[in-house]
C-alpha cells in the first residue's frame, strides 16, 4: 500500500521526474490562480459584483474576519499567508473527489513544507513587528530559564502542525483504502464525504493555528498597527 504520493512520478520534464505531490500542487495553484484571475479581471467599483466575485469576497472576508477575531491588529500579510494556507489545503483536500487526484497534503513532505513555512513565517512576522531584539526577547520570557523550553516549543509547534495535517489527510486516505477492500462499492463514497469534511476542518485548523502562532509572535504591548491598505 502506497502511503505517500512523493514516490509516484506524474510526468517528466527535461529528464526531471515530477512527483504527484508537486504536480498536483501545481494543478491546485493553477486552478486557484486562474479562478482568481477570471473573477477579478473586470473588477471596477462602479460595476455591481457578480455571483463569482461575491463568492470570492465572502471567502476572503470570512478569512479576514477569522484572522481579526484572533488578532485584531493583524496586518494584511497575515491574511495573505494564512488565507493561502487555508485555500491551498482546503482545495487540495476537496479535490479528493476528482478521480485520479491525490491530495498533495497527503504527502508528509507537503505538510512538512507548510509547517516549515509557518515555522519560518512566525519569527519573520515577529521580527517585522517588534524588531529582532524585541522578538528574541520573547524567548527569554518570563525568565532566561525558559529559553530552551521556548525553543523546543517553537519547533514542536511546527512538527505538530505538520504531523497533524499529514495524519488527518493520510488517515482518511488509509481508512478509505482499507474500507475499499472490505466494501468496495459503499464505504469509499462515505469515506470520501467524510474526507471532504475532515479536509476542510484540517485546512481551517491549520490556518487558524498558523494565525495564532503569528499573532502570538507579533503581540506586543506597543502601539497598535495602523490599518493597512494595499496600494
Amino acid at each position: 500500500m502506497e502511503l505517500t504520493p512523493d514516490e509516484t512520478t506524474l510526468f517528466t520534464v527535461w529528464g526531471l521526474d515530477i512527483s504527484e505531490t508537486v504536480g498536483f500542487t501545481w494543478g491546485v495553484m493553477i486552478l486557484l490562480t486562474l479562478t482568481s484571475i477570471l473573477v477579478t479581471r473586470n473588477l471596477r467599483p462602479d460595476v455591481p459584483p457578480n455571483r463569482w466575485r461575491t463568492t470570492l469576497e465572502v471567502i476572503v472576508t470570512a478569512i479576514q474576519s477569522q484572522i481579526e477575531e484572533i488578532s485584531p491588529r493583524a496586518s494584511r500579510h497575515v491574511l495573505y499567508f494564512s488565507g493561502t494556507l487555508f485555500l491551498f489545503i482546503a482545495f487540495s483536500n476537496l479535490l479528493l473527489v476528482v478521480p485520479g487526484f491525490t491530495p498533495p497534503t497527503a504527502s508528509l513532505s507537503t505538510t512538512a513544507a507548510l509547517a516549515l513555512s509557518v515555522l519560518i513565517a512566525v519569527p519573520l512576522f515577529g521580527i517585522t513587528r517588534q524588531g529582532i531584539g524585541g522578538y528574541l526577547k520573547t524567548y527569554v520570557q518570563p525568565s532566561v530559564v525558559m529559553l530552551p523550553f521556548n525553543i523546543i516549543s517553537e519547533f514542536s509547534r511546527g512538527i505538530s502542525l505538520a504531523i497533524r495535517l499529514y495524519g488527518n489527510v493520510m488517515s482518511g486516505a488509509v481508512i478509505a483504502g482499507i474500507l475499499l477492500g472490505v466494501a468496495p462499492f459503499f464505504f469509499p463514497v462515505v469515506m470520501d464525504v467524510l474526507g471532504l469534511l475532515t479536509g476542510l476542518i484540517q485546512a481551517y485548523i491549520f490556518a487558524i493555528l498558523a494565525t495564532v502562532y503569528i499573532s502570538s509572535a507579533t503581540a506586543t504591548a506597543g502601539k497598535p498597527l495602523p490599518k493597512e491598505k494595499d496600494k
Partner: protein, 255 residues
C-alpha cells in the same frame, strides 16, 4: 513513509509562489474592490446626507416662502378689496353725478318745454283775448278795438307830452307798429292826435305779425306801447296758479 526534502523545498517554493499569486490576483483586487466600494458607499452616504440637509434647508425655505406668500396673498386680497371698494365708490359717484346731470338736463328740458308752452300759451291767449275783446267791443259797444287802442295810446301820449317832445328831439319821423293793419280812419285819428302834440313829426304805420296785439309808437329813441301782453301775462299767471292749485288738489284728492 518518509520526508523527501527536495519535495519539501519544492513545496515551500510552490507555497510561496502561490502566496504571491493569490496576493496579486485574489486578495488585493478583492480587498481593494471592497475598500473602494466601502469608500464609494461612504461617499454616497455623505452625499445623501448633504442632499438631505440641502433638502431640509430647501423645505424650510419653501415653507417660509409659502407662508410669506400666504401672508402676501391675504394682504393682496385685502388691497384688491379696498381697491374694488374705492372703484365701486368712484363708479357710484360717477353714476350719481351722471344721474344728477341727466336729471338737471331733464329738468332744464322740462323748464324749456314749460317756457315754450307758456310762451305759446301767451301768444294764443293774447290772440284769443284780442279776438274776444274785439268781438265783445264790437258787439256790445259797436266800436273797433284798433281804434280804441289808438285812442288809448293818444290819451297816454297827451300825459307824456313833455317827455315825448324832449325825446323826439330832432327826429322827424315816428313809426306806429301794430299786429294788424289799422283802419284808415283810426290811422287818421292817431295822426291828428300826434300832430297836436308834435307838429313836425311825420307818422308812418307798419305791421308786425310777431308782435302782440296792440300798438307801439317809436319816436327817436322813445317808445310808447300798449299791447295785450300785460293782460296775457296776468292771464297766464292766473292759469298757472289755477293749474298749480288744481294739481295740488288732485294730489291731495288722490294721494
Amino acid at each position: 513513509m518518509s520526508v523527501d526534502w527536495i519535495t519539501v523545498l519544492a513545496q515551500i517554493g510552490n507555497f510561496l509562489v502561490l502566496v504571491w499569486l493569490l496576493k496579486r490576483f485574489l486578495y488585493k483586487p478583492i480587498l481593494n474592490g471592497i475598500d473602494a466600494r466601502e469608500s464609494e458607499i461612504a461617499a454616497r452616504m455623505g452625499e445623501a446626507e448633504i442632499a438631505q440637509k440641502q433638502a431640509s434647508v430647501a423645505e424650510a425655505a419653501f415653507l417660509e416662502q409659502k407662508r410669506a406668500l400666504l401672508v402676501d396673498n391675504s394682504e393682496q386680497v385685502e388691497r384688491f378689496r379696498q381697491q374694488t371698494e374705492k372703484e365701486k365708490d368712484t363708479l357710484l359717484a360717477v353714476t350719481r353725478e351722471s344721474l344728477e346731470r341727466e336729471k338737471q338736463e331733464w329738468q332744464a328740458h322740462l323748464n324749456s318745454e314749460r317756457d315754450r308752452f307758456i310762451s305759446e300759451l301767451q301768444l294764443a291767449s293774447a290772440e284769443t283775448l284780442y279776438q274776444l275783446v274785439r268781438r265783445a267791443l264790437r258787439d256790445l259797444a259797436d266800436e273797433d278795438l284798433e281804434e280804441r287802442i289808438g285812442l288809448h295810446v293818444i290819451g297816454k301820449l297827451k300825459s307824456m307830452k313833455p317827455e315825448l317832445v324832449s325825446a323826439a328831439g330832432n327826429a322827424e319821423q315816428a313809426v306806429a307798429t301794430t299786429h294788424k293793419p289799422l283802419p284808415d280812419r283810426t290811422q287818421e285819428k292817431i295822426r291828428t292826435a300826434l300832430a297836436g302834440l308834435a307838429p313836425d313829426l311825420e307818422l308812418g304805420f307798419t305791421t308786425d305779425p310777431g308782435q302782440a296785439p296792440g300798438l307801439i309808437l317809436r319816436v327817436g329813441s322813445v317808445q310808447v306801447a300798449w299791447t295785450v301782453d300785460s293782460y296775457t301775462d296776468e292771464l297766464t299767471g292766473m292759469l298757472s296758479e289755477r293749474l298749480a292749485s288744481g294739481g295740488t288738489g288732485w294730489m291731495q284728492n288722490h294721494g
